[in-house]
Symmetry: D2
Subunit: 361 residues, 4 copies
C-alpha cells in the first residue's frame, strides 16, 4: 500500500526502473480457472512497445513477458501471478549529461526532493517504461472480463495536437500506428509528426477509452465510485493531466435537460453520463477520456537548475517519443481493465445474493 | 475499505443517508496535539450549508457538527475523531412520487440494480447530503496543514454555464454566495440563476482549487501519485464529471516547449504542470479544476422507466440546487485537504530521514 | 487504515473513549437485504454489558445501541451502517488521582509516550469500553452468517485461574454469568471470585470460540490466511496475550502421526488443526482459544512512576472487573464473526465461479 | 490486498510456487538511502536454506536472491525493491503419486475446495518454500531497523518435542543447526531427530523471538495494535498454530499482582507483558513465542480420500523436514522485522511532531 499497488481484490503491484535489469509486477486476486499464457499478454505489449514506427522512441525493447507463477497447466491457479520483463536495451551513457541537472517538466527535481537523490538513468522509476507492466497486468483483467462477461475495452486516439479524427471506424484503430479511428487522417498525422521530430519538439494528445458490455452495479460509493477509481487509474499514467467521464468538462455549459440521459424500456436515450450514475455503472458503455501532455524530453534547449541550484541549460539527447500519447492507448485500456476487474470482484463479493426485480434496460 | 473510506494514514470513513436520523464520519489518523473544536469545522460547513441564498436548495439544515471523540482538553488525542450531524429537515413526503420510478441522471436505477432496492427518500446514500461530512473531515485536515505547515487550500467558481469571472480577487470569493472571484460578475450570475429557476432547469459549473505552501515531495508513485489521488478524491464528489491538474485538457494542443515549466534559482517560470511532476508535488501551487454536471432534479418532465421497466414521466418537486456547483467549492477544498494531509503523513513516515542537498527553488 | 478499521470487504471502523459522550462504529460492506434492527444487536451487547452480576465492574451502562444509517424499511441497504452507544455513567472524578501517574500493566505510559499525552479518564481510548462496538458490529456479521449460511459462532469460558470446566454442555453456557459450559462449576467460580474481590486482586482466563457450519474455502494465503486474521482479530482485544488455533501450543510436543487429521469419505477423523489447513477453512469447526491477562486495575498498591518519571505508588479505586475474561466471551465471538464475514465476502468475490468436483467430506 | 501483501507503509507482496521457475516479492515502502546489497539478505537466507544439515529436507536450493530494482548505486532509492530467487531443484516426479489424493494435515484438500483444483507439485503455493521470500524481505527491514534505530531481532528454538534448552546463551544460537541457545542440548536434539527420521515421523517445536531496542510508541490501536499485527504475522507462517506475547497462556492462571509489570525510574521491574501495553510498545524487549506443528509429510501411511472422495492411503516420499520448526527461526525473525518496520514508519508519519515530556524509563 505504499504507492505501487492498485486495486483491492484484483491487486497489481509493480516494480522496476528504466535501466535496471528487469521490470515486473505481481497480479494478486485473479480468479482461478482462466486459461492464460504469455501470448495472451504479448499482443497488447507489442501494441505499446517502443520502436515499432518512426513516430515513437527508437529504443528497442523486445518486451517479452514471462509468467513466473500463478498459472498451472495453462490455467490461473488463484495464486499470485508473477510477471517479469527483462530490460535489454539500456544505454545508460545517454543520460550522463543530465545526472546533475533537472530536466524541466520531468520528475527529476521532485524525486530528488522527495528521496534525497534519484536514479538518473532514463528517469529511473519515473520513466514510462513501467507502463509495460500495466499493460501486461491489465491484459489478464481484459481476458477475464472478455471471456467471463463479454466485456470489451478499447481505446483510440481522439486528438493529437490540432488533429482530430473526423470519421470513426473501430477497425481502423488497429490498422495504424496512431490508434486513429480515421484512416484518412493518418497521412496528416504522419506529416505532422515528421515536422515535429525535425523541429525537436513534442505534442499532447487525447485518448478515449470505451468499455462495452459492463453490467450495471459496479462501483462502491461514496469514495470508491467507479468513476473515481477510473480517474485515479488514468491520472496515475505518466503524462496524464486530465480525465473526463462521459461529457466531462462539456457539462459545465450544459443544462440539466440536455445532460440527463432519459430512459426508455429499450435503454437510455443518450450517454452523457458516460455509463456511470452515482458512481455505479449503469449498463451503458463506460466512456473515459484523458489528456496526455507533450513529453518534456526535447532536443530544444531549456532553462533549468542543477543539483546545487545554479542556472544551467538542458538538452535531452536520448531516444524519446515526440508524442507519448501515441503509445498510451493500450496503457489506458489496461488501467480501465484493472478498475473494472477489481470492481467486478468487489461487487460479486458484496452483492452476490442480490437479485433485482427491475429489468436491465 | 468497502467504499466509504478514503486515505491511508489520514482515513475518513463516512456514513449516513439524506433522510436518516444523522450523518457522520470517523477521522482516523489525525496526529495528536492539534487544537480543535466544533467551531473550527463549522465555518466551512456553513459555507456549504443549504438555504443560505435563494440560489440553492431551500432545505433548511442547521448542519451543526458535534465531535464525539478524539479530542481531549481541546486537543486532538491521536485517537479516532467521531463526527456527527443530525438531520433535522427531512420531508420524506416530498419523495413519495418517485419511489417507484427512476429519475434520469440520478443514481436511482444504478442503486436498484446494484443492491436490489434503494432508499428513495431524497436519494438516500446517493444524496449530496453526505458531502457535509467531507467538509467537516476536511476541515480537520485544513487546520492541521495550515497551522503545522502553512498550507492553504482555497477554491472558487471558475465558470457557471456560460459565465466566467474576468477578474480574480481572492477576497471577492468570500463576499458572494457563488464563491466567484469577480464581484462584478455577481449580478450577472444572479440574473442567470433566477431565470434558470423560473425555467425549472439547471446548469453545470467549473470549480478550481488551489493549494499554496505545499512542500515538494508529496505523492507516492506509481499508483498513489498525488495527482492520481486528487483525481480520485475530486471525481468521488457527487456530480463531478471531469478533473484537470494544471493545464489539463489544454495540453492536448500544447507543444513541449510551451508546456514544460522551466526552472530558475528563483523558482519555476510557469506552472502548466499544476504543481505536480511525476506524481510528486514540486513546491509550486497545486492547481486542480473540476467539472460539475447540472443537477438532474428538474421541474421539467423527463422520460424514464419505473421499477417494472415500463415507460413513465418524472418531475422532481423536491427542493434542489439548480446549480450544484455553487455549494461545491468547500467540498472540493475539503477533498484536496484530505489528500494533502494523507500524503503529508505518508511522506513523513517513509522519508522522515531524507535530507536533500538540493535547495528548494 | 490508521488502526481503527478491521476487515477488507466487511470493514468495521470504530471510535470513542470511555468517558466521552459516545462510542460508535461504521460497518461498511454488509450486503443488502439482511433484516436488521437494534434488537438483533442488543442481545449480545447485554451479554457483554457491565454490572449484570457482582463479579463484573459495577459501572452501569445501558449500552443501548442505535442504528443511524444503512438500514431501510427493516433491511440493510448495502450502505454503511452507523452505530452509536451513548455513554451514560461516566464518573470522571474517580480518575483524578491517576491522571499524573502511570498504572502498571495499563496503557497509560505507552499512550503518553506515543501521543505526548493521554486521556486519563477511565483509560480513554484504551479502555475496554470500546469492545461494546465490536460486539455490536460483530452482531451484524453473526446474523448474516447465521441466516445466509447457517454458520454459528459460540464462545465459552474454558478456564478461570485454576478452575476448568469438567463437563461441556452448550446450553449451560447461557445459564450463568461466567459463560461456563459446566453449571456444576459455577459455585466454585463464584466463591473464587468473591475471595478475589475481597483480596483486591484479579485473575486471568481462557476463552474458547467455536464456529460451526463454516464451508471450506475461506482464507486468502499467504498473508491473509484465515487463521492469521483470526489471530489478528483476537489479539486486538484488550488483555489478550495468546491465541491458539486447534491444538495450539500442545502441538509442540506432538508427533506428525498424532497431529495430522486423517480423512475419510465421512469427514475428518479428528480436528487437531482447528478447522484451518494451509490458512484456508476445511469445513470442520473453527476452533480458537485465547488467553486473557488479569486486569491491572487493583486495589492492592503497586510501584510506578509519575509523569515526571519519579517513583510513586498507585492504587486503582475505580469500578473494575476482577476478571476481564468473564465478559470477553461475546467480544471474542464478535471478532470471529467479523473475520469469517470478511473472508466469506472476499472468497465469493474471487472464487464465485469456482466449482470443485471434489465432494465436501 | 488480495492476501499476498503484508504491511501498510512497508508492504511486502509475494509470489511463487514450490516448483515454478522462480519465487519473488516486492518490498514497497523502504525509505531511501539504506545501503543494501544481495549479501545483506543472503545471510538469513542461508540460515533458512534447506539441506544444510541432515536434520532438514535434502532438497538442494542455492536460494540465491537477486535484487531487480529499487537499489541505485548501492543504496535504496525509495522505489519498490523487486527480489527474485530462481528455483533450481524441483523434482516434480516425486509428487506424481499424490496428485489425486489429499495428504492429511496439508492444504491439498482446502486449496482444491477453494480454487477448484491445485498445483500438486510440492504443495505449489502452500509449500513453505515461499518463506524464503519472507526472509529476504524481512532482511531489508532488519537492516534498516538495526542501522537506523539499533533495533535487533533474534530468535531461537525454545522447545523441540520434549526437549527444552536449560541454559540460555545468545551466541550458542548461531553455533548449531537447531538455533538452540544451549549447546549442551544439541547432542540430545541430534539423537532425537535421528530416531524420528528413522521412524518416519515428525515433531513440533516452539520458537521464541526477541526484539531489543524498540522505542516506546509503536502500534496503532485499536485494531492495528502491535501485538495484534505480530500475531497476524506469526500465524501467517506455515505450520504455526499458536502465538503468545510475553507470558502468553501462562497468564490464565496469574493474578494481577503477579502479572502487572511495576515501573521504577530505572525501568520496568519485570516483563510479563512482553513489551506491549495497550497494543503499543513500551520500550521493553518485545517477546513473542510461536508453536509450530509437526509436518504432515510422513513416510508412515495415513488414511485419506482422493479427488473423487473415495478412501485411499497416502505415504509422502518426497524430501521433507521432520521438524519444520528447525528452519523457522529466521522466518519468525523476518516477520517480526516486517511488523516493527511497518509500525515504525506509521508511527513516524502520524506522530512525527510529538514530543513527550515524560522521560523514557
Amino acid at each position: 500500500m505504499s504507492g505501487n499497488s492498485f486495486g483491492k481484490l484484483f491487486t497489481v503491484t509493480s516494480f522496476g526502473e528504466s535501466h535496471g535489469p528487469a521490470i515486473g509486477c505481481i497480479v494478486d486476486g485473479c480468479p482461478p480457472g482462466l486459461e492464460l499464457s504469455e501470448a495472451d499478454l504479448q499482443r497488447d505489449l507489442d501494441r505499446r512497445k517502443p520502436g515499432t514506427s518512426r513516430h515513437t522512441t527508437q529504443r528497442r525493447e523486445a518486451d517479452e513477458v514471462q509468467i513466473l507463477s500463478g498459472v498451472f497447466e495453462g490455467k490461473t491457479a488463484g495464486t499470485p501471478i508473477g510477471l517479469i520483463i527483462h530490460n535489454t536495451d539500456q544505454r545508460s551513457k545517454d543520460y550522463s549529461e543530465i545526472m546533475d541537472r533537472f530536466r524541466p517538466g520531468h520528475a527529476d527535481y521532485t524525486y530528488t526532493q522527495k528521496y534525497g537523490f534519484r536514479d538518473y538513468r532514463g528517469g529511473g522509476r519515473s520513466s514510462a517504461r513501467e507502463t509495460a507492466m500495466r499493460v501486461a497486468a491489465g491484459g489478464i483483467a481484459k481476458k477475464y472480463l472478455k471471456t467471463r462477461y463479454g466485456i470489451e475495452i478499447r481505446g483510440y486516439l481522439a486528438q493529437l495536437g490540432p488533429i482530430k479524427p473526423e470519421k470513426f471506424v473501430w477497425n481502423d484503430v488497429y490498422e495504424n500506428a496512431f490508434f486513429c479511428p480515421d484512416l484518412y487522417k493518418v497521412p496528416e498525422l504522419e506529416a505532422y509528426m515528421d515536422e515535429l521530430r525535425q523541429e525537436g519538439n513534442s505534442i499532447g494528445a487525447r485518448i478515449n477509452v470505451v468499455a462495452t458490455g459492463v453490467p450495471p452495479g459496479l462501483g462502491e460509493p461514496i469514495f470508491d465510485r467507479l468513476d473515481a477509481e477510473i480517474a485515479h487509474a488514468m491520472m496515475s499514467i505518466n503524462a496524464v493531466k486530465g480525465v473526463e467521464i462521459g461529457d466531462g468538462f462539456a457539462c459545465v455549459e450544459q443544462k440539466g435537460t440536455e445532460h440527463r440521459d432519459e430512459m426508455t424500456p429499450d435503454g437510455f436515450s443518450s450517454n452523457h453520463a458516460g455509463g456511470v450514475l452515482g458512481g455505479i455503472s449503469s449498463g451503458q458503455d463506460i466512456l473515459a477520456s484523458i489528456a496526455m501532455k507533450p513529453t518534456s524530453s526535447l532536443r530544444l534547449p531549456g532553462n533549468t537548475v542543477n543539483k546545487e541550484g545554479n542556472p544551467v541549460e538542458v538538452v535531452t539527447k536520448g531516444r524519446h517519443d515526440p508524442c507519448v500519447g501515441i503509445r498510451a492507448t493500450p496503457i489506458a485500456e489496461a488501467m480501465m481493465a484493472m478498475v473494472l476487474m477489481d470492481h467486478m470482484l468487489r461487487h460479486r463479493g458484496q452483492n452476490m445474493d442480490v437479485h433485482s426485480d427491475t429489468p436491465v434496460i
